[in-house]
Symmetry: C2
Subunit: 212 residues, 2 copies
Amino acid sequence: MIKVVIADDHPLLREGLRRILEFEEGIRVISEVGDGQGAINIARSTPFDILLMDLNMPGVNGLEACRVIRRERTEIGIIVLTVDDSDEKIFQVLQLGVAGYLLKDVIPKTLVDSIRKVYAGEPILAPSVTGKLLGQLTSSNTPKNNFGLSNREMEILAYVVKGSSNRDIGISLFISEKTVKNHLSNIFRKLEVEDRTQAALKAVKLKLVQLD
Amino acid sequence: MIKVVIADDHPLLREGLRRILEFEEGIRVISEVGDGQGAINIARSTPFDILLMDLNMPGVNGLEACRVIRRERTEIGIIVLTVDDSDEKIFQVLQLGVAGYLLKDVIPKTLVDSIRKVYAGEPILAPSVTGKLLGQLTSSNTPKNNFGLSNREMEILAYVVKGSSNRDIGISLFISEKTVKNHLSNIFRKLEVEDRTQAALKAVKLKLVQLD
DNA sequence: TCCCTTATCAGCATAATTTCCTAATTGTGC
DNA sequence: GCACAATTAGGAAATTATGCTGATAAGGGA
């Protein structure tokens, strides 16, 4: 039996969810709460499996409640159920380690399936959320603008990001330290920075070189 | 009609996939290829919608083929279909902007559903892949080990990561440059690095300080 | 109280970095 | 051929950074 708790400040929506879930085999809604504090309280006092959590609630909001509950009751699978599709909150919530993120326009069947899957240990994301995650990955490696750095300059910049000194870079590339310095001066000018530290950080920030 | 191309070096698996898909309404396998180059060639010569791509293929591998096809034919939705669940490749592939990543143990129904969803613009990930993505998010904010750095040292390290010089740090914190240097020496020793660049990079790498 | 850490400042010596200058060679494109 | 960029190298000088030692003061804990 999967024990479910619903946390949402809209009584109508709670009622709707409860009615959807109460006819499902093996699923039982054991409680409903109307705010984040209520969710925290029940998580502390009662064992259950799945928490359907709205983010926008009065008082202690869903985000804070998630943070507390994730810390205190790691065994509870939290499924965020929200209308909020905006970028800022999504990543904040996902970083907390929630097990699912669904939008409120899901069809009942998807919701029920998701509850079962989360109970089985599978993470669940709404397609648009998956898209945002992937989008972040792909957009993050679009240097595009490599500031007109030549191949050699990129190579040297990579060594700077590895923490090499000018001398070491020269030895590694079989060129004189003087040449390294010249390249670096050009790199600094092109990246619009003053020293190797700023260059290294900017290179990492702009993904010109991989930090690893 | 969703036009599908299968790229896999195992004839048996290709045949199996084709038989699964050929009875589906609205889906037609228009071609099969056995290596990455073949996938690239057909993508260049023939319009189609979905490419089921194995990663481990002889010659031009799936990863390279994905890269080329993604660049030349953005309208083709690539679904990576592989046994490879290892961490390194997953992120490389996802960064290319593939539309789906499934493991070869999927049931036929899931595969068909996934093709339809990708065709409709939805991204598709195997649960374990979603888990890895989420795991990366949550694990990324665990500094924990601050290497015994004191508050003041952390503060100074933050300035280093901003690209400040010793003089600038001194001015900002209303202390002498000498003091800054002393703190830095201690920081270098504790972080086990030789200079400010390595310290800044290590701080970023270990999330001791936020880069931005 | 004594010891340790932290934070502050300083001097000295050395090393590393950075800038500015010139200049040769090579390859690419017009 | 000519112009231009990339790569290479060197000289000279200024600036910055680093290591080491020493010193003072405040605060916490055994």
